[in-house]
Structure formats: structure tokens, C-alpha cells
């Protein structure tokens, strides 16, 4: 993996445009399928750096952006056929921030169609392969953004996380990923899957780089009414923490072995660890899917082939026209979620599903609030297993269950990070660190300390 420090060191003696060409060449030969679109402007931006015309915190650093984040004049598809030709007329807030800080937007990363998935297998453009084992998935839905970091195809990347979509690929690819407190990063320009749950967040090869990118993208934006109106600045703090291990968030034995090792490490660093039980979590997965699918069914209504995206070249009646556009444009998983969401919102079922899910959401928030009275941070394995084989999870329900450790965080809106803690059977394992609202500083200090004390040789094993 390429750290920001390494990239900057090379920039001292090499031309940015040469380094970028080399990177693009590697991507061209790559088997990962991590990018949907590469930016033609990337080289020009690198040349600006060479002419010392590019300034900012990320000057000259190649950053990959998930393909559900709008980029002006650069195709943004959500890995869906329905947007296969869509070129947005505006930049997302986070993309504006990247440009302001001199980043080189290298391209748009592959993902599950409309971020609906845990493996990036639902992408219209094909599955993303895991750099640690090409026969395995990179996780999802931000599979491309995870794989480009692990596979040396970008230095930093942005993903989005609705129910674990940053943390899952971070865990499977052995990189660091953060979903911040809901509202800390503007969603303006994030093509919505489930608005009330999702956040854009950074992915990187190490915690320092993660902090750098998070500081750039978090911040005030009046165009997002749910924005918290504040930014993030990291402060180094040494503090012994009370660490809660969530009983209900478990994993397969090989993952648990690595997880337990990290608990030992945490305790050896002087933190105290205890177990905490979250009663509401048994309902969290169901509630998450009801809310996410309900919002999705409405969000995805606009893709009707009238204003942009996939269209038909013959006239037809309105109902037949948009029905055909959608039948052709959406993949099976997207259709499944639209139908389930429409059903959950329909008259007679609204109270039974949607309202009940909102109640569970409140219970989950309360459980977290209770836990944060006794613990500074909470930890769990990020995913119940390591990366699966491509095609291994054919049954949708089995797939949905893979999100069990990650979705409660989105229901509550609290921040959570996935940190690589080693390998099980040569596949990366992630540790999930959760904190109270706006406790990113605490989480990142903690993660930094663990990272510094891990057996780096193993955690950062090259492919």
C-alpha cells in the first residue's frame, strides 16, 4: 500500500505527472476491476502540481472517489446501467473540498449497484476482486474504494457507508475506513440510497492518512440540511480508555481469534476492557433493512429515463416507458429492494414495518447511550468473517446477515472505524471501534495507538 508519506517523499525527487502515469499504467493492467471510470483530467492536475500551481493539504495526492459521489463533467454511474452514461453538472461537497486542497481525482471506483450490497457483486460493471485473493470479493458496497488502497491503485479513497459499506471493504481488504458521526460530512452530491443512514467517509492505508482525508471532507455545508455545521481537527491525546466489547457482535472462530488477540493488546496498553450487552441488536438488522429499503424505493423513483440516464429511443405511453427503462436499467438486487421498500411503505403495512423500524432505531440509540455511560469506546469484529469467495453468498438473506455488526452504528448515527488487526488464513481481519456522537478524536487516537503497537509486518503484509 502507498502511504501519503511515501508518495510525498517520492514527489521530492520525481515529477507528479510521471508518478501518476505509472499509477495509471498499473491500473490499466490491473485485474481488480476497482475503477469504473478514470479521469482524463488527472494527468493535467498532476502537471499543475509539477508547475507548482497546485496547493493544499492534499496537493498532488491521487484520491479515488466512489462512483455514487457526483463529480462535475466526470461520469458518475452508481455502477448501474440506468446511470451508465450520466455526467453530473455539479461536484459533491466532498469533491469540491478535494479540489480545493489540491487532490488529484484519479477516477471513480466500482461499487454495488446504488450501494446495495456487501460484496460489490451487484455492480453492472462486474465484481471487484480482493487484492489479497483475486478469487474473493473485496467487500461492499465500497469495494472499489477498498481495493484501490490495498492494491496500490490510489493513495486515498472516499467511500460511503449506509450499513457498513466503508467498514466491510476496509475489513476485507485490510485497510482503514471511517464512517463519521451522521452529519459531519455533507451528503450534498452523494447519490442517495438511504439518506437517514449514510455518510461519506475516508479510506486509507493507515490511520494518519485517514485523519488527513477526514479533516478535509468533514465540515459545514448549508446545502445539506442534516449537516452538523462543524468540521473536524485531530488532536493527539494519550488517554487510558474503558473499552466495551459488545457481546452481540461476534464472528467466525478464525476472526474471533484475531479479535481476542487485539483485546489482549488493548489491555496490555493499559486500557480496561469489559463486556456489554445490547438487547435491541437482535432487531437491528431487520429494522435497518426496512428503513434502508423504504428510503431507497423513493430515492430511486427518479430514474425514469426522462431527464438523464438510460433511455429508450422510441416513444411510448408514460407508464410503459418508465417501466421499461427501469426494467432494463436496474439489476435484480436493486429491484428487490425497491419492491420490498414500496411494500413496507404502503397503506396498511406502514405501521407494521416502517414505524416499528423507527421504534427499534430509538431502542438501538438508547442502548448505545447507555453503553457510553460505562465505556469510552466499544469494539467488535467489523465483519462476521473474512472475505468470501466470489459467488459464495448466492442467497440474499445470508448476504444481508453479513451486515449484522455494522448496521446498528448507522441506525444510531454514531461514528465507527474499521482497523486491520492481522490475518486469518491469509485474509485480513478488521477491528471495529465505535464511539459516541462526535467522538472521532477519541476513536482515532485509540486506533492510532493500536496501529502503532500491532505487528506491522503482518498487518501491512504486501500482496
Amino acid at each position: 500500500m502507498i502511504s501519503v508519506t511515501e508518495w510525498r517523499e517520492r514527489l521530492e525527487s520525481e515529477r507528479c505527472s510521471d508518478m501518476l502515469s505509472e499509477l495509471l499504467e498499473r491500473i490499466g493492467e490491473s485485474k481488480l476491476n476497482a475503477y469504473v471510470t478514470l479521469s482524463e483530467d488527472a494527468i493535467k492536475t498532476a502537471e499543475l502540481y509539477d508547475r507548482e500551481e497546485l496547493k493544499g493539504k492534499l496537493a498532488g495526492i491521487p484520491v479515488a472517489v466512489k462512483d455514487c459521489i457526483t463529480t462535475r463533467d466526470l461520469k458518475t454511474t452508481c455502477s448501474s446501467r440506468i446511470l451508465h452514461n450520466y455526467i453530473p453538472p455539479f461536484d459533491a461537497h466532498v469533491v469540491e473540498r478535494l479540489r480545493e486542497e489540491g487532490a488529484i481525482i484519479i477516477g471513480k471506483t466500482n461499487m454495488d449497484e446504488f450501494a446495495m450490497g456487501t460484496t460489490t457483486e451487484t455492480s453492472y460493471f462486474g465484481v471487484v476482486r480482493n487484492p489479497h485473493d483475486l478469487e474473493r470479493v473485496a467487500g461492499g458496497s465500497s469495494g472499489g474504494s477498498g481495493a484501490v488502497i490495498a492494491g496500490d491503485e490510489a493513495v486515498l479513497s472516499l467511500g460511503s457507508d449506509t450499513g457498513g459499506s466503508i467498514r466491510c471493504p476496509a475489513s476485507f481488504c485490510g485497510v482503514v475506513g471511517l464512517k463519521g458521526t451522521y452529519g459531519l460530512v455533507s451528503r450534498y452530491g452523494l447519490i442517495p440510497y438511504a439518506n437517514s443512514l449514510e455518510q461519506i467517509g475516508p479510506m486509507a492505508s493507515n490511520v494518519h492518512d485517514l485523519i488527513l482525508l477526514f479533516e478535509v471532507v468533514a465540515g459545514k455545508d448549508e446545502r445539506d440540511s442534516t449537516n452538523a455545521g462543524r468540521g473536524f481537527r485531530f488532536e493527539k491525546k494519550e488517554k487510558r480508555l474503558r473499552v466495551g466489547i459488545i457481546k452481540e457482535m461476534t464472528a467466525k472462530d478464525d476472526v474471533m481469534t484475531k479479535f481476542n488477540e487485539s483485546v489482549e493488546l488493548i489491555e496490555s496498553l493499559g486500557h480496561s476492557a469489559g463486556e456489554v450487552s445490547m438487547k435491541s441488536f437482535k432487531y437491528a438488522l431487520a429494522a435497518y433493512y426496512v428503513i434502508a429499503m423504504s428510503e431507497a424505493s423513493s430515492n430511486l423513483a427518479r430514474y425514469d429515463g426522462v431527464r438523464y440516464g438510460h433511455a429508450l429511443d422510441q416513444l411510448d405511453s408514460w407508464t410503459r416507458y418508465f417501466s421499461r427503462v427501469r426494467a432494463e436499467g436496474f439489476g435484480d438486487e436493486v429491484k428487490r429492494r425497491i419492491m420490498l421498500g414500496s411494500y413496507a411503505l404502503s397503506a396498511g403495512y406502514f405501521g407494521k414495518y416502517y414505524l416499528k423500524a423507527l421504534k427499534v432505531r430509538t431502542l438501538v440509540k438508547n442502548d448505545f447511550q447507555r453503553a457510553f455511560k460505562d465505556y469510552d469506546v466499544l469494539i467488535s469484529p467489523t465483519m462476521p468473517s473474512t472475505a468470501f469467495r466470489i459467488g459464495e453468498l448466492a442467497d440474499p438473506l445470508t448476504m444481508y446477515k453479513m451486515d449484522v455488526n455494522t448496521v446498528p452504528i448507522n441506525l444510531a448515527g454514531i461514528p465507527a472505524l474499521s482497523l486491520p488487526i492481522g490475518f486469518a488464513n491469509s485474509l485480513p481481519v478488521g477491528l471495529q471501534v465505535m464511539g459516541d456522537y462526535f467522538s472521532e478524536n477519541l476513536i482515532l487516537n485509540f486506533a492510532l495507538e493500536i496501529e502503532e503497537n500491532l505487528d506491522r509486518g503482518e498487518a501491512f503484509k504486501q500482496i
Partner: protein, 488 residues
């Protein structure tokens, strides 16, 4: 069971029951409801007042226009409604090409305001038309066609209107005739114009859905009527249609109908079975609105409403009740009158003159020219009107001349003194008229004889002679008085 029957009887006491849903464009706002596009699109090319937000582009997000909330709260307070401190926007989901997101941001179970009423005149007294609720929503775009809707091969969409702030006012089913419905709408429009939130003259400013049911029949909804006259016509047509069905022993189905404005009939759109399920749920891109501050700020700033103004005008200026009633129908007319009246009051002139000349003469002349008092303000300022009325009450001009001056100014502009000068409209002094009267009597002994014999027309002839000699500048009534005096 028996109670239920009684309840139904109570409810169905009236033969016809009408409820209205009125959609009002808050078109005096500068920007749309959720973006900063200008609302001033009526003269412009299609799709020129649009942005990613009102086009529903993926990733764009709505932000509530706070002024729109203020306008809406103002209306709700003026309509005596219970404005809610906590109000939520919801998504109303349905597919339609004029709806860029294929859902509309509206309000469902936590609207801006509950209740309220509008008072209309009914028979001898007044009737309170009760309101159910008032909520805000975004306007969709507009479909248009090359040629006519029936011959065009495809629809075109103009999204300039998309995202315009709408206020939906829903009445209880309490009106009992098409006339009452029209009176309610007229009154509502006047109130909105008093509040300065709405310009009813702009295309699409007010659109109405009407619910109507006849005793024993299903409730029929008539969708999207665009004029007050249309509402009255559609309802009148429906009453006839439904009565005819009943007469033939047929059931009036619960359904939604469309008003065909060209043929003045309603046609079935869909039955009850085909009613849409809008799958409402809270808009996750917006946070609930806390209107407490706005309510506090605006309470007490609601301007004088028509009722209060009517009472005040009658009292303050000592004018007839009927004048006051008409004056308040149009805020600009009332303002015009007040300016004229204030100035004339200083000269101790009876202000019924000012009221009459505003309501009867000037309003009539404006109507004849399809103009309103906004136009009157621009061309015949109240100060000029004061001048006319002063000359008139001083006897310096005749009523006929006053009307001529008004007409001339409305048609060609100019000022009062200039027109009097040009046309020589100053009335002739009474001594001069008396001289001319004596001449007429001397020259027409036959007419004098006839008049004394009791022929009234003979007097008209003599007055006519004087009018001719003065080229119409003499006041006919005054002339007749002088002739009578000489002959008695």
C-alpha cells in the same frame, strides 16, 4: 347502531355538501421552496429557471426557504388557524413526468397548521367556512404540447414551475352550493392579496380540487380546476349529473373526475379502486421545522383583514355600509379611496362623494378597460382625483366634465388642470347662465307657454338651449333651477 343513523342524518341534513382543496402559489416569494431559483419565470423560455435541486438531479438536496415558511405562517395566522410549532415535510410518492424526483415533497400528518376559518356572506347573515388543515408543498413542472393535447405526438415538460412554493388549504365539507364555493374562493383570494404573499393575476396562481356529494350519493372529487368560474361551473354540472343519476335510480359512484373547461363538463378519471397509495414517509433530507420563533415574530404583525377594514372605513370616514363593503374587496381600491378621502376630509367634504367616485365611477371605468387600481395608481394618482372632486364640489366643473377628465386620463394620460384648460371644461358662473336663461325664455315664448301649461318636456327644451349656448359647460340641474326661478 341507531346513534350512527342519527349521526348520518345530521351530517346529511343538506342536500349538497362541498369541500375544497385550494393550491396557492406563494408567487410573491423571490425564490423557490427548496432551491434559490427565481420564481419570476412567467415571461421566460421553458427550463430556464432550473437547477440540480428543482430538477431532482441525483445527489442534489433540498434546503427549506425560510421566507416561504414565514409567508405560510402569515396566511395560517390570518385564516385563524392553529399554527404548529413543530412541522414535518414528507414525501408523497407517485410517478409522473412533471415530477422530477417522481415524488413530491409535501406534508402529511404534521402539517403547518390545523383548523381555521374564512367568513363569507350567506343569505341574511354570515357563514364561517371551517378549514381542516393548511400545509406546504412543492409545485411540479408543467406539461405542454405542440398543437393540442389530443393531436400532439408527445408531451414536453417545462420545469420552471417545479419547486414553486405551494400552500394547500383544505376546507371541511361545509359549503352547500357552488355559489358558496365561489364566495369562499373570492374571499380567500382577497385575504391573500391583503397579506401580500400572492398575485392572483399570474397564470397557475391558484388551482382547486373540489369534493362534492349529494344526499345518499358517493363523494366525487373534481381535480385541478384553474379558475373560480370553473369551480362554480364544474360543481353546478356535477349537481345536475348526480341528480339525474339519482332520478334514474342509479348510484353515484365514489370517483375522481376531471373538469373539461372547454365543454364545461366533468369526465371520469378513475374510480375508488384505482386510488393511488402515495406511500407517505418523512423526507429524510430535511429536518423538522421549528416554527416557534416565526410564529412569535409574526403574531401581531398580520395586517388589517377585510372585515376589520370594512368596519373602520365606515366609522372613520362616515361612508355608507355598502361603499365600505365594496371598497374592501380590493386592497388597492381601498387604499386609493383612503388617500383621496384623507385629503378631502381636510376640506370638510362629504366623503360619500369620494367613495361613490371611487367605487362607482373610477372602478367602472377601469373595469371597462380591463384595468385595475394598480393601473389607476400609475396614471391617475389619488392627488389628481382629489383635484377633480374638489373642483366638482366647488361647482367649478360639472359631473359630466369630471367623468370626461377621468376617461381622458385613463386613455391618454395627462393631468387634470391641463385637460380642463385644453377642453375648456370649467363651468360657467351662475350670473352668466342666468343671462343665457333669460335670452332663451325671450326667444322661445311658445316653449315657455307650454311649460306653464304643464308640459315638462318644454323645460328640457329650454335647458337644452342654454346647454347648446354654453357648449355643455352649464350644469343641467342648476340651469333648470334658474329657469324655474325666473318664471315663478
Amino acid at each position: 347502531m341507531s346513534q350512527q343513523v342519527t349521526g348520518q342524518r345530521m351530517e346529511r341534513k343538506d342536500e349538497v355538501v362541498i369541500g375544497l382543496e385550494v393550491h396557492i402559489q406563494l408567487n410573491k416569494l423571490n425564490t423557490k421552496l427548496f432551491c434559490s431559483c427565481s420564481t419570476d419565470y412567467h415571461e421566460d423560455e421553458p427550463n430556464t429557471h432550473v437547477c440540480p435541486v428543482c430538477l431532482g438531479m441525483p445527489g442534489a438536496m433540498p434546503v427549506i426557504n425560510e421566507m416561504a415558511i414565514k409567508f405560510a405562517v402569515k396566511v395560517a395566522l390570518a385564516l385563524n388557524a392553529d399554527v404548529q410549532p413543530f412541522t414535518v415535510f414528507d414525501r408523497k410518492n407517485y410517478f409522473y413526468p412533471d415530477l422530477p424526483k417522481d415524488f413530491q415533497i409535501s406534508q402529511y400528518d404534521r402539517p403547518l397548521a390545523w383548523g381555521g376559518y374564512v367568513t363569507i356572506e350567506a343569505g341574511q347573515g354570515e357563514k364561517k367556512i371551517l378549514l381542516k388543515r393548511i400545509h406546504m408543498e412543492e409545485d411540479p413542472g408543467k406539461l405542454s404540447y405542440r398543437g393540442s393535447i389530443t393531436t400532439a405526438r408527445y408531451s414536453m415538460i417545462d420545469y420552471n414551475r417545479s419547486g414553486m412554493p405551494l400552500l394547500e388549504i383544505v376546507t371541511e365539507p361545509v359549503m352547500n352550493s357552488p355559489k358558496e364555493a365561489r364566495q369562499f374562493l373570492n374571499k380567500l383570494r382577497i385575504i391573500l392579496e391583503y397579506l401580500d404573499v400572492f398575485d392572483g393575476s399570474l397564470e397557475g396562481a391558484m388551482r382547486i380540487d373540489a369534493n362534492i356529494s349529494l344526499k345518499g350519493g358517493g363523494r366525487v372529487e373534481i381535480k385541478n380546476i384553474s379558475s373560480f368560474k370553473g369551480v362554480e361551473k364544474a360543481l353546478t354540472y356535477e349537481i345536475t349529473r348526480q341528480k339525474n343519476l339519482k332520478r334514474r335510480g342509479k348510484e353515484v359512484r365514489r370517483e375522481t373526475r376531471h373538469f373539461d373547461e372547454i365543454n364545461n363538463i366533468t369526465v371520469s378519471l378513475r374510480g375508488k379502486e384505482e386510488e393511488q397509495d402515495y406511500r407517505y414517509f418523512p423526507e429524510p433530507d430535511l429536518v423538522p421545522v421549528d416554527a416557534t420563533g416565526i410564529i412569535e415574530e409574526l403574531r401581531g404583525t398580520i395586517p388589517e383583514m377585510p372585515e376589520q377594514k370594512r368596519i373602520r372605513l365606515a366609522e372613520q370616514y362616515g361612508i355608507g355600509e355598502n361603499f365600505a363593503k365594496v371598497l374592501v374587496l380590493d386592497l388597492k381600491m381601498a387604499d386609493y379611496f383612503e388617500e383621496v378621502a384623507k385629503s378631502l376630509a381636510e376640506d370638510g367634504i362629504n366623503l360619500n362623494v369620494a367613495a361613490s367616485w371611487t367605487v362607482d365611477v373610477l372602478r367602472g371605468e377601469l373595469n371597462y378597460r380591463s384595468k385595475d387600481f394598480r393601473f389607476a395608481y400609475s396614471i391617475l394618482e389619488p392627488a389628481e382625483m382629489v383635484k377633480i372632486l374638489k373642483y366638482l364640489t366647488d361647482g367649478k366643473i360639472t359631473e359630466k366634465s369630471a367623468v370626461e377628465i377621468i376617461r381622458t386620463i385613463l386613455d391618454k394620460g395627462g393631468n387634470v388642470d391641463m385637460i380642463i384648460e385644453e377642453k375648456g371644461l370649467f363651468a360657467i358662473a351662475n350670473s352668466e347662465i342666468e343671462k343665457l336663461c333669460r335670452e332663451a325664455i325671450e326667444k322661445n315664448p311658445k316653449a315657455v307657454e307650454d311649460y306653464i301649461a304643464g308640459k315638462e318636456q318644454a323645460l328640457n327644451f329650454l335647458v337644452g338651449q342654454v346647454m347648446k349656448a354654453t357648449r355643455g359647460k352649464a350644469d343641467p340641474a342648476e340651469t333648470a333651477r334658474i329657469i324655474n326661478k325666473i318664471l315663478s
